[in-house]
Amino acid sequence: MTTAFTPTPSGAHVRAVHDPFHGDLLEISMGPHHPSTHGVFRMMVTLDGENVVKLKPVFGYLHRNHEKLGENTSYLGSMPYTDRLDYFCSMTNNWAYALAVEKLAGQPVPERAEYLRVILAELTRLLNHTCLAGFLLQDTGASGTPLMYAFREREKILDLFEALSGSRMMCNYQRFGGCRIDATPAWLAAVRGIVDGYGAFLDEYEELITGNEILLARTQNVGVLSPALAVSAGITGPMLRAAGVDYDLRKVDGYGLYPRFDFRVPLGAHGDTYDRYMVRMLEMRESIGILRQALAAIPDGPIMDPKAKIRGFRPKPGEAYGRIEGPKGEIGFYLISDGTPNPYRYRVRPPSLINLTVLEDLCLGHTLADAVIILGSIDIVLGEVDR
């Protein structure tokens, strides 16, 4: 006996469902414009009293046909669209796409550009993890204070991107064979200032949040992800490392100049929401270390390979898959070229979507309030999930 949905003013469409095994169930559709679903994402949650019995994620509301578009525009034309994938980390999206095309065309990249790419990627990681901590705390109910501190720090980094690439979030900065604009010494000094101040901010943030008993009670042993499930579901990024699996592309692939920098990869032991939060906080401290080393060792020189072609870029036929360790996980671009200026096939591996597939397994047995936090700890951005 399933009746039609009854919309309530706050946007949650609820419907009473009678399940022979569990008695009266409550089917709730949270979203697509629910305040705590990080964008246009809908969860069809079936509740038995307080506990989640079934949870079906529904997404696709933000699908913009990114990959088919990629096939009809030139290689360069797709670069600004990669900013719109995971609109929190445009620099790492650009780098992944540029890496794939360089692998496809065998395009060398000068030293200074590689250093700049590492610096920008680590700045993006700082930015993303800070915002994740802010959103997670917002979901647990802290009335905006941690989120505002996170956004205060994010603004500083976005100002850096604006000073370098011209736009805060849609940077469109990397090119095949290097970067578009050189970083002036003043800009590098500004980065050094912000990186030095970031450690103090993280200490203050941890003092506000990490020891907080209410947060401990709300997030520990909530949404536990077992290493076996994580590996079999193809989870990558901090979620995987929080489950205790040691897999970080910066160490595995050694792309860019990461082998030159020494940094450690934090691993969680329980794989619950608290571990996902703490692994990201510790990763931020490692990123600060990498940034300091990169800023100290950045050489002068060209930032664009002189032989790189801007227009009429026709890589020889073939295929390539370039991937990097983005803040949300392994973001990869798979390209097939048939010699024409447009790629034959343009595929993006979205870490948010793949991490999202285990949402139901994490939420079973928890209450609705926990399901909101578990979704927050997975750190999805709908631009990347729907493409």
């Binding site: 109910g141 905006g144 506000l208 907080n212 520990q220």
Partner: protein, 431 residues
């Protein structure tokens, strides 16, 4: 008064000692050590104003006029305090988050409450078709009435007690207990199954926190020896060496009672870590879903007035009502001290709201039943011990304080360790 033996026939043989001097000293009218007479002008100002207005009326009408003035004064002061509180909350929350808070309406956002009020008044007041119209209308009215009724017994100054009741504290909590009925009416009258479920949840929260609230003030009544708020404030008069006031919060049972009382007050007024109805993880805005326009504003006015009333009672019970913290500061009028302490507590409410995340409903009730109620019961024990040992002096005083502190801190640590066994910050290994 026959010699007061507190524990009936069973205890009489054991405690045959004569306690009257100890109890009597508490109830003697407080003589101001500084010898300052009662008629300081600022102190009697409100009374002079009132007598100026109603002095000429014959007796029955004069009493009526006086009480009317008291009622109007309370409603005007606390309604404007409610308005300023909403603004203060948004400004403080803003400042905590490194932003200015509302500053576009009037200087520094001072007209923001006016703007909110006008918005609430002009918003359409939708009553669902299936709703039980009478109850739907009555719920906010009853809730607000009960919130305002509780202000009658709080002593705002040495001579500013609206109603002198012998069982004033019981009156205060009786009115507070009836608010649950109004919330049930709101939940039931909206004829919306999910707002009824949420109302049940809010009721569970209120009822489970009423017990610690009531148990928390019993040690204070033991110490003061009377249920009348004026008596309790009188019992907290005087200073030890002009510096240490005899406030109940400075005694071990009083301090533990104060902490429990404040946590329970947070829960009773649906404030920060316990504001379940506004949680977005709830399906809807709790029992307030079907309310809009001014009825919605009335609910919030009732919540804020409830917060003010509970803070006022906390000041009266634990923080020495209108007494000055130092003997030297006695010249400042008493109602100023009451206002300062009240605002301090209200800022504490806002401060907590700016910092803490929200508790889940099962954690919330577990905190009440497995943590606060046991502590409050043990606090009764400490209160009793503290009252019986008031006459210990010299070396015994240290023993008395030691035993009392052990009785307060011991169970807290024991129950706390049980919590920390399940949740503790972790250390992480690096690959």
């Amino acid at each position: 008064m026959s010699p007061a033996v507190w524990f009936g026939e069973v205890g009489a043989s054991l405690l045959a000692m004569d306690w009257t001097p100890a109890i009597a000293s508490k109830l003697a009218p407080t003589v101001f050590p500084t010898g300052q007479t009662e008629s300081a002008f600022a102190e009697r100002l409100p009374l002079l104003l009132r007598d100026a207005v109603t002095g000429s009326l014959p007796e029955p009408w004069r009493w009526l006029a006086n009480s009317l003035i008291a009622i109007v004064a309370i409603i005007v002061i606390f309604a404007s305090l409610f308005a300023l509180l909403t603004l203060a909350e948004r400004k403080i929350l803003g400042r905590v988050q490194n932003r200015p808070g509302p500053n576009r309406t009037g200087w520094g956002g001072i007209l923001q409450p006016l703007a909110d009020g006008i918005k609430m008044l002009t918003k359409e007041d939708i009553v669902p078709a299936a709703a039980d119209r009478l109850l739907h209308f009555l719920a906010p009215v009853v809730l607000l009435a009960l919130s305002i009724v509780t202000f009658a017994v709080i002593p705002y100054g040495r001579h500013l007690v609206p109603v002198e009741l012998d069982a004033a504290v019981l009156y205060f909590f009786a009115a507070g207990a009836a608010t649950e009925l109004a919330i049930f009416m709101a939940g039931w009258a909206s004829r919306n199954k999910y707002s009824l479920l949420a109302a049940m949840r809010a009721l569970a929260q209120l009822i489970s926190y009423e017990l610690p609230l009531l148990l928390a003030f019993v040690p204070v009544v033991m110490l003061a020896g009377s249920l009348a708020t004026t008596g309790i404030v009188a019992a907290q008069g005087g200073w030890l060496g002009g510096v240490l006031p005899h406030w109940h919060v400075l005694t071990p049972p009083g301090f533990a009672g104060f902490v429990i009382f404040m946590i329970a007050a947070l829960a009773e007024s649906n404030r920060s870590p316990f504001d379940l109805p506004e949680a977005e993880s709830e399906l809807i805005a709790g029992h307030l879903t079907e309310y809009s326009g001014f009825k919605y504003a009335l609910f919030f006015m009732a919540e804020y007035l409830g917060m003010c009333a509970l803070s006022g009672m906390a000041v009266t019970l634990f923080l020495g009502g209108w007494h000055a913290p130092l003997a030297a500061l006695e010249f400042i009028p008493s109602y100023v001290w009451f206002a300062v302490k009240l605002l301090a507590l209200l800022l504490g409410f806002i401060w907590i709201r700016a910092t803490f995340p929200r508790l889940r409903i099962d954690q919330l009730t577990r905190l009440a039943w497995k943590f606060l109620v046991p502590l409050a019961l043990i606090n009764l024990l400490t209160g009793g011990f503290w009252v019986l040992t008031t006459h210990w002096t010299g070396g015994m005083l240290v023993v008395r304080w030691a035993i009392a502190l052990v009785l307060v801190v011991g169970p807290f640590l024991a129950l706390g360790r049980q919590f920390q066994a399940r949740y503790a910050p972790r250390t992480y290994r690096y690959a």
